[in-house]
């Protein structure tokens, strides 16, 4: 069997096309950007080497703190909403006794199918303080709380993160659902016979067996939170001021607005480094989890 899996020709044939294409189109430009992060460069001319200046400046840039904080909040909202709600829904809908599950499942995926622009425009309307649905709903229910959802410096980032979380819930849901479905029925049956309730069985059997799926979903949720961008661009344009900035928004601004491509590259390096770090941490945590089980 080991020899079987060591077939050099097969490995090359299977891995090389993907690796070559990926290296050329993704990694090569990334390396170039990394190299350029040590330059004072406008993205057009020659540029001058300036060592670590870009990084020193970056760590003193108040926008970095704003961006990191927003990225963390964004990621948190995604994890709580998508993984939390996604899990519950995946478990419930995986139950074959539920009526209409096919329709439900399809419905949950609809926002994913629509483009970000459509979804953001919808939520801009929903969040509108005077004509929007949420403030109106609060009024109708007699809740004396009204909010400028998208212009409040504190609330807006969460409001926007929620839009992303809501739109791509179906995405995570379908990954989780596939995870639940791939657990053989016998395990659940065995657990129920042992006297567990349905939810108890899920807690003890299903969820622990989905470690790989969870790990992957978590990585996706956290890293897409850290690098979030489009929703801010469409919904608030990063404002008011720079309150809704994220790392990617910084990159966008410095690369295209301010002609500081070298500096933008430094931000990108930090973004990739943080993403890798977070992934490593998640991997580590899950490995320990596995051992304890």
């Amino acid at each position: 069997m080991r020899k079987y899996y060591r077939n050099k020709w097969a490995i090359m044939l299977f891995a090389l096309p993907a690796l070559l294409l990926y290296t050329l189109i993704v990694i090569y430009p990334v390396l170039q950007s990394m190299y350029r992060s040590f330059f004072d460069w406008d993205g057009l001319g020659e540029g001058t080497f300036n060592g670590l200046d870009n990084y020193i400046r970056l760590f003193n840039d108040p926008l970095l703190m704003t961006s990191l904080k927003n990225g963390a909040l964004f990621a948190l909202v995604l994890v709580v909403f998508q993984l939390g709600l996604g899990t519950i829904m995946a478990l419930v809908i995986a139950d074959p006794r539920l009526r209409g599950r096919k329709v439900l499942k399809t419905g949950y995926f609809i926002p994913v199918v629509l483009s970000v622009t459509v979804v953001c425009q919808l939520w801009i309307a929903i969040y509108d303080p005077t004509n929007g649905l949420i403030n109106k709903l609060f009024q109708v229910l007699g809740i004396p709380y009204q909010q400028n959802w998208l212009s409040s410096p504190t609330v807006s980032i969460i409001a926007i993160a929620f839009v992303n979380a809501w739109q791509y819930m179906g995405y995570q849901f379908s990954l989780l659902y596939a995870g639940v479905k791939s657990i053989p029925e016998q395990y659940m049956e065995a657990a129920t016979i042992d006297g567990c309730t349905k939810w108890g069985a899920h807690r003890r059997i299903t969820i622990p067996m989905m470690v790989e799926t969870y790990k992957f979903c978590l990585i996706i949720a956290v890293t897409s939170g850290i690098s979030a961008f489009v929703q801010m661009l469409i919904m608030t344009n990063g404002g008011p001021g720079t309150t809704n900035y994220t790392l990617t928004f910084m990159i966008y601004r410095y690369a295209f607005g301010e002609f500081e491509y070298g500096y933008a590259c430094a931000v990108a390096v930090v973004l990739v480094a943080i993403s890798l770090l977070v992934t490593a941490i998640i991997n580590r945590v899950f490995r320990q989890e596995k051992v304890t089980h």
Binding site: L44, T236, N237
Partner: protein, 438 residues
Amino acid sequence: MKGKGFKALMLATVLLLSTSLAACGSAGNTGSTTKDGDTPAGQNDKIKLKIYAAYFDDDTKKPYDYAVEELKKEMPNVELDLEPSMQDDGQKLRTYAASGNLPDIFPTDYRTIKAFAQSKNIEMLDNAAPTAAFKNDLNPGNETNMIAPDGHIYSYPFAGIEFQILYYNKKLFEEAGVKAPIKTYDEWKDAIQKFKAKGILPLSIFSKEKWIGNAFYKGLLTREEPNGYSVLDKATELPEAFKLAAQQFNDLKDAGLFDANATNTNYDQASSLFYTGKAAMFLNGQWEIYSSDKNLGDDVDWMYWPAKDEATYEATKFNMNGMGQPGGFSVSPTSKNKETAIEVAAFLARKYAEYKYTQLGNPIVAVKIDKPVAVTPPKMMQRLIDETLPNIKSFMKMTEEIKINSAFEDNTQNLIVKGFTDKNFVDNMERVMKEVNK
């Protein structure tokens, strides 16, 4: 058996590659054949120029079409291949420059000129054939639109120096008992209370775009400091005039001048509030005269910027809230027909101005036009022509520092939001100024 699976795999790979390559190949071929087809052997004297220009609505299509018609008469041997440009913060043009794909003629603003000049992606036009005549024909004061701060010329401007004014709804003013025009800051605050009492939004502003909050700030600032941001070059602290403007801005906000959702209001929403009588005032450039005339007719007029007292108001009335910036049509230094491209760029810039002047009755253009105006301009424009243009005292001067300007855009937008004070504004601005001018 081993062979079979392998063959299937290979076959599939080949198929995939060939389909994608065929797709690329055929696309490439069609591209080149049409090009060949367009220039048959006999017509080699036809010069084809690629132009990247705004072309997406009446405001941008009509002047272009007009200019192209004129070009056909003047230079029949030139054919323009248009790629419509979009409002994208210059992303596409920059990518073109970086990858050596610049079209022969493209529109530029100051930011682009600054970066492109440094990297030699823009032709310097100081000694180009049409430059001397163009410069000679500039409307007085419009040199700032042509000559960059480094003393060189990189573009042929078509727009004149535009400025922002306050539009107001006469009927709403009357109904609320507000005397128009508002001349002082105290009258302004008083007016806000009156409008609010009637459930009318005092001023609608499309602050989802950052520049308009900046324009509001500049309107206040120019009452005290007509030169505007240029006085900040090399400074690390905000002068008093800037602080006062920030304080007035903040007080007006706290008094309720803006809508709570102002920073998420786009142009369509803000203008609709004004045109449907839900807002009493509206801020935009003088170009808004046309649509406000169309929408509100006799009910709308514009006013000068209020100041701290009536004496200042009268003294600074004609210090315009606008500034010249180099920009217009520029030419790529790598253009194969550079001489022609330069001629065409200058020609188009003139014709754009001619269109605005003759067809819209808009005198705010870069060059003098000797053709008659073909339309009667709207009343508000006529007032501007008679009362203001001959008396203009000053325009602002820009700061060369792009970063300071960005910081103003960010922080004036912040000022519109409740809770962000003029003190925050001053702190943020001075931090950036210290960084830039250290």
